[in-house]
Symmetry: C2
Subunit: 209 residues, 2 copies
């Protein structure tokens, strides 16, 4: 086994540390965030720091790195109060990764994603994305410990292929080809082990079929 202390981590070469710590916390959701500025110029950016905050009200959190340089997505969300989350699948993860390069024009154009709009949601969606979520900006929490920002949005709109929604509301993301990522740059599809029943002390969890 390889063991690292806090000192080992802090004194490691920065690229090594970045890869190590980014992959240490496990597999992550990875999605394209669509925004526009007040002039209507669109932006599309890949994010893996997305977290479920609650179902009622339906809230999502996104962690942004310190706002010490231009961050179009963060600025657009605050300016227009609107953003979209669009899932990535095995057919377009390369183009999705490419949105993180420095582009002069909109990543929708540079990386070949088609736009779509929904009534009442200002920000643009990725047309054909297997899951599209439209959100309203609610709050920003500044995490003073390292200068990052947690943006909280409320879900205003959800669009999912019918056949992927179970009777109990579960979305079968795997059947839609939705990818997960690890670290900064590794993309994976999934292989289902099982859905397990609500855990009780008097019996083993059963498979939900």
């Amino acid at each position: 086994m390889a063991q690292f202390s806090a000192e080992d981590i802090q004194s490691a070469q920065s690229e090594f540390r970045r890869n190590l710590i980014n992959s240490a916390t496990g597999f992550k959701s990875v999605s394209l965030i669509g925004t526009a500025n007040k002039e209507g110029e669109t932006n599309l950016a890949i994010f893996s720091q997305i977290i479920h905050l609650g179902a009622s009200p339906a809230l999502v959190g996104i962690l942004f790195r310190p706002h010490t340089v231009v961050r179009h997505t963060l600025e657009n969300i605050i300016a227009t109060k609107s953003f979209t989350i669009n899932h990535i699948d095995a057919d377009n993860y390369r183009e999705a990764h490419h949105t993180s390069a420095r582009w002069d024009e909109s990543e929708f154009i540079s990386c070949g994603f088609e736009l779509s709009y929904v009534d009442g949601i200002g920000a643009p969606f990725v047309k054909g994305a297997p899951v599209q979520i439209g959100l309203k900006y609610e709050q920003k929490h500044d995490l003073t410990i390292n200068g990052t920002h947690l943006i909280i949005g409320s879900i205003q709109y959800l669009n999912i292929a019918d056949e992927a929604i179970s009777e109990d509301g579960f979305i079968d993301l795997e059947s839609l080809g939705v990818v997960t990522c690890s670290g900064l740059d590794s993309y994976h599809t999934t292989l289902k082990l099982a859905r397990l029943s609500y855990a009780k002390a008097d019996h083993q969890p059963k498979d939900i079929t």
Copy 2:
């Protein structure tokens, strides 16, 4: 396609809404959090709301539901300033899921996980877990919008199978059988598509091999 407005979501049956919104944000990391109270009584609980907050310093965030009932993990972290994150693999995800039942004794015993300890880390680890992270409690942010709590910990110790660490620091979680989850109860292994090079505008991302 199935479309849901904010009103559709809020008026849905609560189990349907919980499953829908918990699975909407994509695949998640899922891990066992080990803690002990001041008397040394251990606790082990499964969490999927874990987020990478930064690499330097190495920080992790965990989202807790509102502290309106007894929450042993949260209380132990605040009382002892120590907790561990232990990844789950395809061999023990059923036992890991079972920790979420209401147990009288420690989940280490009830669910059959062996304890291990590391010098300088007060909280217990899951022996044999493919990735073990020891953390020090740093901060709690109360998210007033829905009463949840974001706990921030700094990484003090990291233990990973040697063969899973690439030269550049990337941890090959897939080779260790680490699982991801979706929704509240669905567990998955992964199938790697590719690691992609740092994105630049003048060429397509290349595979990192």
